[in-house]
Each structure stands twice: as structure tokens, then as C-alpha cells.
């Protein structure tokens, strides 16, 4: 068998997801009154971004055979932090906490762009740190991931509610404008490429900024990580943990790293959601929905819930498929109360495509491997 044939066969579930996405998205653009325009692309990309990141966050622990039920909650909590830290106020943002009348001050973030940058880094660090905590509890506390993250997820929601009992906060308007529109708008906001008017830039001006950020995260974070020994070890753990240990791999470190990287991705999602909505909102049902949808996206994208095979790119496509399904509701104007029903049916159908191999298997023993 040729190398290409082998690769196609090994990535069959992923390729199915990619093909499915292009089919449904093309269909959507065709039926949309303003199809194939930059405005529609920008809107869709912004709506996909957070779920894509949360699905990526879910994927990494799943590859190491551990489900993370805290991703939605962590994303929500980071969003609430962001709603305080990304104001970009010229006089700076005070890092202070009012606890039962006591004020604990940690200094002040500088104003303007520098402050926003620091604020974003703090948010990402909080996410990665909380992921690290998840990993440490699972590895050193020897608690099953599903239970450990159920508990920490509740804690994260608690913190989020403490930060934002009501939705609110204020995110810098320029930041919102720059990241949730096209590259042209981004360039004109941050004053690069002749405010986006440079002739060579014109072909790229219509690309959604959020899509570019998503691609950059994939290229600069996931791709290198998957080529490290730690990244490889995560796959090895999901495939056969005992064999990984016997091969002298650092199983503990890799598992902690998997949760930490997941936390980082979830934080990216939370940060974007806060920027997109210009506020922080400790929305419990929404956090739960993100967690469950992330699991669905992982499965649709071809990652085995048993671990060991798949990858975050598949989950991104899984998230996009899920979102496109809901886009259709807008075009066809389906009553919101009916949407969960349709979503469920379509999700089941989408997952069944991957399961269709059952019908072709001639050695029934293979079904149990």
C-alpha cells in the first residue's frame, strides 16, 4: 500500500469531517442572501472562534484518555477576568480585589495598548494555570479526570459568579473592533500597512481577523507542541499508558501538560468571547453548553474518546460543522424553541457518518478494538 493510501485510511474520520464541513458550508453560503461576502465570513468566523478554541481545549486531555468537564467553565471565568483587565483605560487598570470590606491591591496595569497586552497575558496565564491545577489534581491526586474537572469546573463558575454577579464590564472598543472584523479593519485600527490601504494588502483585507488568529494559534501553538516528546507522549498515554510508562516516557508530566494546554486554549476562547461581547458574563447554562458542544466537536472531528488518535484540527472542523448547523436556523427562520431538537437530530446524523464503517467491517472482532 502506498504512503498516501495509508495516510488517507488512518485519517478517514478527520477527512470525512473536513468534507462534511465544506459541503454544509457551501450549501449555507449558496442559500444565504448575502452569500460569499466578507461580512458573512466575518460574522461566521467570530461565532465559530470560541467554540473552536473550547473544542481544542477539550481535545488535548481527550487524546490522553481523559475528559475535561471544566473547559466551558474555565472559558467563562477567564472571560469575566478579561472584562476587568481589558478596559484599556488611559489612566490604567487597578489590580485590586474587594473582599468583605478589605481591599487587596496588587498594583496597577499601565494604560492603553500595553495595559491591554498585559491584561490578555494575565488572562491566558490564569487559564493555563487552572489547566495545570486540573492536571495536578488528576495526576498527583489520582482522581479520575471526569470527576476532578467536574469539581474544578464548579469552582471556576463560582469564581466567575463572584467576579460578575451580573453581566457587565467594559472592553476597549478599539480592541473589539480590531479583532471581530476583517483584516482591513484590523489594519486601519492599529495603523499598519498604510492603515490597511496598501495595494498589496487589498486581496487579504476581507479575511476575518478571528480566523487568522485561529490559524495562528494552530500553527504557532499546536503544530510545534504536537512535535515535541511531551506531545507525542500524550498520544502514547491515550493509546496504551502502561506501554508508554514501560518505554521510559514521562507520563505524569505529559498528562499535566495536556490539561495545562487545554486550559490555555480555553482561556483564548474566553478572552475572545469577552472581547466579542464587550463584557463578562458568568452564564452557567452557556458554560455547560460549551462543554457539551466541545465533546461533540471532538467526536465529529475524528478524535477517539478513548484517546490515542485524532487531533485538534479535526475538532476545529467539528466545531465549525456544529456552528454551521445553527447558521441554517437563521437563514430558514426556524423557531428558537425547535432548535435544540434539530441540533440533536443533526448531531446524531453527523456522528453516524463516522460510525458507518460498522456496516463495512467484515471481521466483527474489529468492532471491539
Amino acid at each position: 500500500m502506498s504512503d498516501i493510501a495509508i495516510r488517507v485510511r488512518q485519517n478517514f474520520a478527520f477527512l470525512t469531517a473536513v468534507a462534511l464541513f465544506f459541503v454544509v458550508y457551501l450549501l449555507y453560503q449558496l442559500v444565504h442572501p448575502k452569500g460569499f461576502s466578507s461580512a458573512v465570513l466575518v460574522q461566521n468566523s467570530d461565532e465559530v472562534f470560541t467554540l473552536a478554541l473550547v473544542a481544542m481545549a477539550q481535545t488535548v486531555p481527550v487524546l490522553a484518555a481523559g475528559l475535561d468537564l471544566s473547559v466551558g467553565a474555565l472559558m467563562t471565568m477567564v472571560g469575566c477576568f478579561a472584562s476587568y483587565l481589558l478596559t484599556g483605560a488611559p489612566e490604567g487598570t487597578p489590580l485590586a480585589l474587594d473582599l468583605a470590606g478589605f481591599r487587596i491591591g496588587l498594583g496597577t496595569l499601565p494604560g492603553g495598548g500595553t495595559g491591554i497586552l498585559f491584561g490578555a497575558l494575565i488572562c491566558l496565564a490564569i487559564g493555563a494555570g487552572c489547566g495545570l491545577l486540573n492536571g495536578a489534581i488528576v495526576v498527583y491526586g489520582r482522581i479520575q479526570p471526569i470527576i476532578a474537572t467536574l469539581a474544578t469546573g464548579a469552582i471556576f463558575i463560582g469564581v466567575a459568579l463572584f467576579l460578575r454577579p451580573q453581566p457587565g464590564g467594559k472592553i476597549n472598543e478599539d480592541l473589539n473592533w480590531a479583532l471581530t472584523n476583517s483584516l482591513g479593519d484590523f489594519a486601519s485600527t492599529v495603523h499598519i500597512f498604510n492603515d490597511g490601504a496598501a495595494p498589496w494588502f487589498a486581496p487579504f483585507a476581507g479575511i476575518p481577523t478571528s480566523f487568522v488568529i485561529l490559524v495562528l494559534i494552530l500553527l504557532l501553538v499546536w503544530l510545534p507542541f504536537s512535535r515535541t516528546v511531551t506531545g507525542r507522549t500524550i498520544y502514547a498515554i491515550g493509546s496504551a499508558e502502561g506501554a508508554a510508562y514501560m518505554s521510559g516516557l514521562d507520563v505524569k508530566r505529559a498528562r499535566v501538560a495536556a490539561f495545562a494546554l487545554g486550559g490555555f486554549f480555553a482561556a483564548c476562547g474566553g478572552l475572545f468571547l469577552a472581547i466579542q461581547t464587550s463584557s463578562g458574563n458568568a452564564d452557567i447554562p452557556q458554560a455547560g453548553a460549551y462543554t457539551l458542544n466541545s465533546i461533540a466537536a471532538v467526536v465529529i472531528g475524528g478524535t477517539s474518546l478513548l484517546g490515542g488518535s485524532g487531533g485538534v484540527l479535526g475538532s476545529v472542523f467539528g466545531a465549525m460543522i456544529l456552528r454551521v448547523i445553527s447558521f441554517f436556523f437563521r437563514v430558514f427562520d426556524i423557531a428558537p424553541l425547535l432548535q435544540p431538537l434539530f441540533e440533536g437530530v443533526i448531531l446524531l446524523a453527523a456522528v453516524s457518518i463516522g460510525a458507518a464503517r460498522v456496516l463495512r467491517v467484515k471481521n466483527t472482532l474489529e468492532l471491539f478494538r
Binding site: R227, V229, A240, M246, S247, G248, G308, K362, N363
Partner: protein, 520 residues
């Protein structure tokens, strides 16, 4: 060759290890040299596995010292042992099924560029090591999951080579290999030996030990009984040292009688390019062997008979009735009555975390119920019978089956199927990785079952076994039966020749000194 004190490369002194109340090793002194192949012999439970685990850093000894190259060592984990040059190929394969062959071979220290794994260099490295191990035919891109067991073992060997061993430990590393691969491994071991690598070799195949080892140590009940150089002891003496008692004959006598009426008749069976034109009859009371090189369709044939495969063509007749078992559940049912002892007891034979009792009764629960409920009294009786009949050594039947030794686990699998009172018993290499004593019990049991009227189809990778146990042997090649051997034709020369699909028997040679061992 570097001269360590007393010329010994690895010296263990006064090593003891207990697991709970069980004494696994007691005051063991042991040493091995560079450039020597040292066989470690003993029944299952003799302490060989524990010895190896201690050397390889998987478990720590309760007391005693390990001195490697003149320095005292404590290996905290397998990685520490590997760094020191101790590389072990374990019986339980240490491969990750979802990763590619290339990934697996370089898993511990892949070639890197700028800190990231260099996929191209890794693939080249895999190709080189696979070639050195003698299995260039494996594409490094393939996942381990998609390889047959024999190829996986070769990948395991290539992986060990990549870790630059000074001491290489092979624990039943050739148990699933085809004879052609075994030859390659022999050649490889000879090259490593010439390079000054110390090799510890565990095998239950006596002719392998004869062919390879420069020196052998026998263990029994956690003690080191004796170490001797090649040729100092006869095979019979070695077996006696291992089990501590005399064995008259290795195989039970075959009955002399005309061929019985066929209980199972296959006519022109075929399946999906893997099987074609299989016609074979097995009489009630007959043991028919399946021979040939590994992967020629023997296992597939057993699965086809057991109803695991879809789209099987041809006809299967049982006791004169045309039958088509559609699933294992149908195959084991009373009117068909087939049992299959599967290839991999750890995944297909047993539910490892469940108790011995639960495993024993799992296939025959239907017979133990009163209404919808399992009857505890019937169940207890069945369990006692099963344990007694196969003399399974077990502390309590409530212990997880994973706590038993390999031989006793295999007995549980067989006992479980005997409880369904099968008329046709399919055995897929049931003696792989099992000690001499237990093997003998299995041979006796097979003949006993046949005498009671069962029809037995027995696949084995060990020619001696096929010759010793079977009334007839069907040799398979490329999904077909190329020859049926019986009576005086049933000998090693013919089996090897037919395995290679050579009809005229050629010179026996071929490095299989083992024929004379049929009557140890």
C-alpha cells in the same frame, strides 16, 4: 571487551522480593557476562519475570544488591535502566497501538531538529532499525494496531535495538514469530553477541534454548537452582531441574483406530481474499492441527468457524446438518456447540479486572440461571468443577484473574469454554508463553477431551506440538490448505516444506533441531 571485576558484567547478590505473602524471589545470586547469550529457564511462577523486572527497574528488590559494570545501581524506573544500557523486550508488548511504527520505535528519544521531532529522520531511523532486525517489509507509517502479532514483536525488537543496549533482555520475545523471523532474530542475536552485548533470553521452547544459549540458569519457586554451560546438561535433565520431577513422555499417546465420522465438515470455505477453497473434516474424538507459517489464514479460519466474520462463503456442516454460526453467541449455543480459545487471552480471552469466578462462568451463564437471575449455588458448583478439572492454582476464586500467572490464566480461558460443554473446540495457539509443566497438562487435557468425543482443531506455531499432539495436520499457505499430513508423513520436514508450499520435501536442515525432542 571491558573487564569488570571477575569478568562479570551484571551481578545480582542476595536479591529477595515478596508480593504480599507470596515469595517471588529468595536470596538469588545471579550474574551474566558480555558477549554471551544466557538463557533463563523455569516454569511460570518460578521467579523469572520478577528477576527481569528487578533488573529492568520495573520493581525494586526488597533486599540485595545489583552491580552493573562494577557499580552498584538502584533503578527507580524503566527509563533509568534504559539510560544505563539495560533494555528489555517484555512479554506484554510495550507498543502504543494508535501510534505509527516509526513513532513507536523512537518513542523514548526521537531524533529532533530545533527541539521538535524530525519526522523524516525518525522514519529513516525506523527503516534502518527494521532492516537491522530483519523486517524491512513493515512500512514505518503503519499503525501498530494494523499489524499482526508477529510483526509487532519484530517492531518491538527494532525498538529495543534503537536504545543501544549493553544488556538486552528478551522475555518470550519470539513466542509469536514465524520460523523465518525466528531465524532472523537468531542471526541478529549472534551479531549483538559478537559486539559484546550481554543477552538474557527467556523462552519456553527448548530447541531455541539449545540452539542459542551459551549458558543457562534454571529457576524454581523463586530460587536460583543451577547455572551451567552449553552442553553440560541434556534436555531431559534441564526439564527435570525446572519442574523438579521426572516426566516420562511429553505427549500423551495417540489412539490407533480408523478415522471417525466427521463432526465438523468444511466445504470450500472462503472469505474476503484471506481464505479460499478450505475443505477439511474433523472427526469426533480427533485432534486436527493447523500448521504453516504465521499469518497464512489459520487464525482467520478459526474466526470464520466461530461466527466472527461476515460474508463467509462455502458450507459448514456439523453432525451432518448444514450450519452457519452468525456470531459467537450462536456458535456456542447448544445446537452448534463450538468453543474458541482465542489468540490473545488478555484481550479476547479474559476480562482481566474481573474475578476468576466471574471469568469462569461468563460463557455459560445461561445454564446457571433460575428465571432471570443467576443461581448462586449452581454458579459456585460450576466454579468448583472448573477449578478442579484443570487444577487451576488460585488463592481465592474472588481474586481478579489478572493476579494469576500466564499458565493459570490460560487454564481459566479453557475451563470457561469447557463449561459450555462444546462438541467442537477451536484452539488458537493455546500454549504460547506457557511453561513446560502446564503445556503437558494441556496436551493431556486435549487428548482427554478428544477421547470423550470432542472434535478439536488446534492451531500452533510450534511444530513439535503439532507432531506430538495431532492425529492429522492441515498445513495452510496463503489462505488455502496445501497439504494434509497424517501417520508417518507427519514430521517436521514435511511440515516445513508444506509451510513454504514446496510439495517435494527438501533437505531437512533449515536450523530446526527439534525433531528428536518429540519424546523428551
Amino acid at each position: 571487551m571491558a573487564d569488570a571485576p571477575q569478568g562479570d558484567f551484571l551481578v545480582l547478590s542476595q536479591i529477595s522480593k515478596r508480593y504480599g505473602g507470596v515469595r517471588a524471589l529468595e536470596n538469588v545470586d545471579f550474574s551474566c557476562d558480555r558477549g554471551k547469550i544466557h538463557a533463563v529457564l523455569g516454569e511460570n511462577g518460578a521467579g523469572k519475570s520478577t528477576l527481569i523486572k528487578i533488573i529492568a527497574g520495573v520493581v525494586g528488590p526488597d533486599s540485595g544488591a545489583i552491580v552493573l559494570e562494577g557499580r552498584q545501581r538502584h533503578f527507580a524506573n524503566p527509563a533509568a535502566a534504559t539510560t544505563a544500557g539495560v533494555v528489555c523486550i517484555f512479554q506484554e508488548l510495550s507498543l502504543m497501538p494508535d501510534l505509527s511504527v516509526a513513532d513507536n520505535i523512537s518513542i523514548a528519544s526521537p531524533p529532533r531538529r530545533f527541539g521538535f521531532i524530525d519526522a523524516r529522520a525518525q522514519r529513516r531511523r525506523a527503516e534502518e532499525l527494521l532492516a537491522e532486525a530483519g523486517c524491512e517489509d513493515v512500512n514505518p507509517l503503519l499503525r501498530i494496531r494494523d499489524l499482526p502479532l508477529s510483526r509487532r514483536q519484530m517492531v518491538e525488537i527494532a525498538k529495543a535495538l534503537g536504545q543501544k543496549p549493553k544488556l538486552l533482555i528478551l522475555d518470550e520475545a519470539t513466542s509469536a514469530l514465524t520460523s523465518a523471523d525466528v531465524e532472523k532474530v537468531y542471526g541478529l542475536l549472534a551479531r549483538l553477541k559478537a559486539r559484546g552485548v550481554a543477552i538474557l533470553y527467556i523462552s519456553h521452547r527448548m530447541h531455541e534454548v539449545d540452539a542459542l544459549a551459551d549458558r543457562a540458569s534454571v529457576f524454581r519457586n523463586g530460587r536460583h537452582i543451577e547455572t551451567f554451560d552449553k552442553g553440560a546438561r541434556s534436555t531431559a535433565e534441564i526439564v527435570q531441574l525446572m519442574i523438579g520431577r521426572d516426566i516420562a513422555t511429553q505427549y500423551p499417546p495417540k489412539p490407533k483406530r480408523p478415522r471417525p465420522q466427521p463432526a465438523l465438515k468444511m466445504l470450500n470455505l472462503g472469505w474476503d481474499n484471506h481464505l479460499s477453497g478450505i475443505s477439511l473434516e474433523i472427526g469426533a474424538g480427533e485432534i486436527v492441527g493447523l500448521g504453516g507459517l504465521d499469518g497464512q489464514g489459520q487464525k482467520t479460519l478459526l474466526l470464520a468457524l466461530f461466527g466472527v466474520l461476515r460474508g463467509v462463503t462455502g458450507s459448514i456442516t456439523i453432525d451432518g446438518r448444514n450450519t452457519r454460526p452468525g456470531s459467537p453467541g450462536r456458535a456456542k449455543s447448544h445446537d452448534i456447540g463450538i468453543a474458541l480459545v482465542p489468540e490473545d487471552r488478555k484481550t479476547e480471552g479474559l476480562m482481566l479486572p474481573m474475578s476468576v469466578a466471574d471469568n469462569l462462568t461468563i460463557a455459560c451463564l445461561d445454564a446457571l440461571t433460575v428465571g432471570p437471575f443467576i443461581d448462586a449455588r449452581k454458579e459456585a458448583k460450576a466454579i468448583d468443577e472448573g477449578v478442579g478439572r484443570l487444577q487451576i492454582k488460585v488463592g481465592s476464586t474472588d481474586d481478579p484473574v489478572s493476579t494469576l500467572s500466564g499458565g493459570n490464566q490460560q487454564k481459566v480461558v479453557i475451563a470457561k469454554w469447557l463449561m459450555t460443554h462444546p462438541r467442537i473446540i477451536l484452539l488458537n495457539d493455546p500454549t504460547r508463553g506457557i511453561d513446560v509443566g502446564t503445556k503437558q497438562e494441556m496436551y493431556r487435557l486435549m487428548r482427554e477431551l478428544a477421547d470423550q468425543g470432542a472434535a478439536i482443531l488446534f492451531y500452533s506455531t510450534d511444530y513439535d506440538e503439532l507432531i506430538g499432539c495431532c492425529d492429522r495436520v492441515a498445513v495452510m499457505y496463503d489462505g488455502r490448505i496445501v497439504r494434509e499430513l497424517a501417520g508417518d508423513d507427519l514430521n517436521e520436514t514435511n511440515i516445513v516444506a508444506s509451510s513454504l508450499n514446496i510439495v517435494e520435501p527438501q533437505a531437512a536442515g533449515g536450523g530446526h533441531p527439534g525433531r528428536e525432542k518429540a519424546n523428551v
